[in-house]
Symmetry: C2
Subunit: 353 residues, 2 copies
């Protein structure tokens, strides 16, 4: 009844829809969205807007651009990760941290200690899991985001250099994260740990918490999920609406689809430890979520927010104008990046015990 | 320095960008976004997704579709608003409220009393300003959203049937809202009042608070802004990216641009009381913001969030998968609408004194 009445309101409110209502819906409801001219986002910060204005239009990848064999993957990963990783000494300098590489529970980790630890965080730790689609940005590239957050939040951090495919597909990344977490629990309470990361790192943080629940482990005190890759299947709406508009990811086809297949290695892409969106979020810790209007994973981000909110869990969402996937990492001096780091810092101080 | 290093990281992380970096940026940085096939949003609720699947593809308005003369506007407004307004008795029945039309400070208002008032809201009031682009949905259409919120939140409400153009352009809507507010302040403290609405109503709520600050009035205790029309100029990024994708507003050209011109009546569209985004948000009350991934005004919504957060103000944002502008009003029985009303209810209970 309410629905019928409201539908009448729709027509009242928006007579333009009436004009179109004589058309038939296409088979299956698909729409053909016309081409359009897209100017740089005028209301983003000057730093972000001018950076986008200087960016050549993103070109969706051609079929066959991605590696096929394990050898091609190794070469791709090495080229994409290794050759351009920031040397740890440089990272220490620009982030004003000290970084120590170590083995913990058989996993390579990077301890990141900021030069100044915030008084609130004296006994806190940020457990960081890096992004890169579960295939790239391991090794010395892993602690880069952890160093930024350690520095801006004033919190000790540890970044997990989890194993990745093709050598070690799912569940290696989850297993390594859990192994490190269990080792940490030997010396500190769970609610003094925040877990998080960006992109695949955000997804992995959620997957790890699902796994902690399965194992009956105490849960962390907070989660940071920056534009989390929470659904590895091609389901989210912004994979379509922001295709070719997100200058970082560009399209699902290409790195995302290839990485999803390589990581899952035959498992269902909707397995809750692969696509944590399909898991049960009851009892999850308070979570901060970051995205942008041009983010290909905006839908992943907001779908997780609803899952959390449906369980009554704090799920603070911040969406930045004109920002593509993980833009706060790529324009680190932009106001968007500064605000992102400030929000994370506030959130951790508010929610860690 | 950080920026240069990060730019190297960008290339490391996303080698696909390298492939496109030999292209030149177009003049002014404009991109040509190719046409694409857009399926219904599979991860929206069944109710919303199937409704979109049944919706004929939105057709952007043709030039000349909008009224030109005052007489044409009156006819348009009457057709769009009057003929399909829900009779008040029907609205009372479906929302389980009683509605009383009255003059207050010379302004027509609708008092909306829910059958059950929540204990927390015994002495609270929701001051509602309706949407409709500042041109339509006045008269008996005004209290429709107020009735829904009154009912779901258990809060007494009053909806302002503010004057509209062509007869009464800006600042009439702001003046009428302020007149009602000042009358209310004679009998109750400001911090027991929440103000808000959807679309132009959300924008008007912000503009009214700007005006209250100018007048030195005490401010309300909370704001609800559903997909607020906070910038009447064509500036926001999602006016471009979601053009033809938002099935309600469809495009800036048409009702929005015509309504903006009619309402401003020669004033600068970026006047802070017309486009409240350009005002100073210091001291604003806690605000809840609602939008969707397909919302043409998603950018307006998130830009306001940043303005508020930059002042340290609570600004809770909820973005719904696949939802167009104000979809929670048009699919009132959908889970998206139910969640929206639950979030508003929680927010008012949390933040009203």
């Amino acid at each position: 009844m309410i629905k019928r009445i409201r539908s009448r309101l729709l027509l009242a409110a928006f007579p333009l829809l009436i004009a179109s209502s004589n058309l038939l819906a296409a088979d299956g409801g698909d729409w053909n969205i016309a081409s359009r001219v897209l100017p740089p986002p005028a209301a983003a910060s000057e730093a972000l807007s001018s950076s986008i204005a200087r960016t050549p239009q993103p070109v969706p990848p051609q079929p066959g651009m991605m590696p096929q064999t394990p050898e091609q993957w190794e070469a791709f990963v090495e080229q994409a990760t290794g050759a351009q990783t920031i040397p740890l000494e440089t990272l220490e300098q620009i982030s004003n941290t000290s970084i120590e590489k170590q083995q913990l529970a058989g996993v390579t980790v990077y301890w990141v200690t900021p030069s100044t630890i915030a008084p609130e965080h004296e006994d806190h730790l940020f457990l960081h899991v890096h992004g890169g689609g579960y295939v790239i940005l391991g090794g010395d590239a892993a602690p880069s985001e952890a160093a930024t957050i350690a520095s801006t939040s004033g919190i000790r951090s540890i970044s997990v250099d989890y194993r990745m495919p093709p050598a070690a597909p799912f569940p290696a990344a989850v297993d390594d994260t859990i192994a490190v977490y269990q080792e940490l629990l030997k010396t500190m309470p769970a609610n003094k740990i925040a877990i998080g990361g960006t992109s695949a790192g955000g997804g992995l943080a959620f997957a790890a918490v699902h796994r902690m629940k399965e194992l009956g482990l105490p849960l962390p005190g907070a989660i940071f999920a920056g534009t989390p890759w929470a659904d590895l299947s091609k389901t989210s709406d912004t994979l379509y609406t922001n295709q070719g508009i997100d200058r970082v990811l560009i399209a699902y086809e290409g790195l995302l689809s290839a990485a999803a297949e390589l990581y899952a290695a035959g498992e269902d892409l909707k397995h809750p430890l692969i696509s944590p969106l399909y898991g049960d979020f009851s009892g999850f810790p308070p979570t901060i979520l970051i995205s942008g209007t041009r983010d290909l994973l905006l839908s992943d981000t907001v779908r997780v927010q609803r899952k959390l909110r449906d369980q009554g869990i704090v799920a603070d969402l911040h969406v930045f104008e004109g920002m593509s996937h993980a833009g706060y990492l790529f324009e680190a001096a932009s106001p968007e990046a500064v605000s992102t780091m400030e929000e994370i810092s506030l959130f951790f101080k508010q929610h860690l015990d």
